[in-house]
């Protein structure tokens, strides 16, 4: 058995990957907003939850799932560039997991919120930043879209991730005592 990919990580990545596919395939994970960038997204939420609950590797694998979906569904040339699509999405999982691990000791809730914000911004800044570097977007436009997309995405992600992670901590704590 691979020492990094334990059974737990494989299964959790698989199940959260299923949610990503569900959100992506039905397009429920993409919220249309009237900017030329296309969609605001909640597709990064499974990635962030995976990163927080089971570490950077699970986060990175889920980021890959997210990347595959936005690559397939992309309608504008910028999102047909594998560098724009995959790299930031894989990084979401990694930054989230690292920030969460760093802050967890002091305060769980704060750690989850900060990690979610960092993860969401990794997505926005990464995608737009690489977009600017590769010449798909002028810098001022990118900043505008970034602010327009990042605010709703961050709020939405923070609310959902905090609720899921804290509820899950509650469930696991209960199960440990109540199973028998």
């Amino acid at each position: 058995m691979n020492s990094l990919l334990t059974i737990r990580r494989i299964v959790v990545a698989g199940l959260l990957g299923a949610i990503t596919i569900l959100l992506g395939a039905t397009r429920a994970g993409f919220i249309p907003v009237p900017t030329p960038l296309g969609d605001a997204t909640i597709m990064h939420i499974p990635v962030i939850i995976g990163g927080i609950l089971d570490g950077w590797l699970v986060g990175a694998i889920l980021g890959l799932f997210f990347g595959i979906f936005s690559f397939i569904h992309a309608t504008i040339p910028m999102f047909k560039d594998p560098l724009v699509v995959f790299l930031p999405r894989i990084l979401i999982g990694i930054t989230t997991a690292l920030v969460y691990r760093g802050l967890r000791r002091s305060n769980e809730v704060v750690a989850v919120i900060v990690a979610t914000v960092v993860g969401t911004l990794t997505n926005t800044v990464g995608v737009l930043g690489i977009g600017v570097l590769r010449g798909y977007l002028p810098l001022p436009a990118a900043v505008g879209f970034g602010v327009a997309a990042a605010i709703p995405e961050t709020i939405l992600a923070a609310i959902i991730v905090v609720a899921v992670v804290l509820a899950w901590r509650g469930v696991t704590a209960r199960r440990r005592t109540a199973d028998l």
């Binding site: 059974i7 737990r8 959790v12 395939a25 039905t26 047909k80 959902i160």
Partner: protein
Amino acid sequence: MESFEVFRHVTIGQYLPGESLVHRLDPRAKITVVLLLIAAVTFSTSYTAHLALLALTLGLIALANLPVRYIVSGVRPAVPFILLLALMQLFVYGEAAASAVRGSAVLWQWGVLRVTAGSLRLTLVSLARLLELLLLVSLLTNATPTTSLTYGIESMLRPFARLGLPAHELSLIGTIALRFVPVLGEQFETILKAQASRGANLRLGGRLHFIRSAQQMVVLLVPLFLNALLRAEDLILAMEARCYGGGRGRSHYVRLRLRGPDYAAMALALVFTAAVLAARNALP
């Protein structure tokens, strides 16, 4: 009750048993063909190429004896979003599309709304692309049992295992994900009904009001995630109880072998994709 059947129509990942030529192809050959055609769909912007691709994918679906109506029903809940997006592309993306895709001629203009040849092309091509990708992914997942899909992916990734890539584990993650899409889809529907019966106001349309839709999403997504994680715990327990040991030294009951039709299918797909991509700027 119609409005609750948001996710039941997820058709991706449901195996439909059959005896067609497509069903009997080696999974590796099918994966290769579908990946090649996805590349062709993704990178071509010409009308001719998409007409050819649409005809080809529909032909393959017919060859596999898959019901097109069933496959297309998978996107029915998403139709409003798709139309909204298409209208936005058509009217708003005029200038962006004109530079990106060929065609800056303005076809129609009214105030800020503007249709250019580029944005018309972008809209039509995006819609065609969506349909083609749906058909292609369905072709793979509806005509191949999940287990043979896993064996296929695993054996295709095996050469990379020497470089340290955990081929078996990655293909297992993919299989678990595909296997649980319909299960979680049904679960999501149950959650919708449960929350509605408690009086939750679930209007899955007004998503431009993002704070309100965030609150609505919380009562739907939190149970969905918790349910998925609980299922994960059960699966972990079941796998550990059976001493699941991963890929190394594991042998298979069914051994995959590529035959004549497999090579023929891959060769045809390669030729077709190469032709479409080589001519992608020459065709109208």
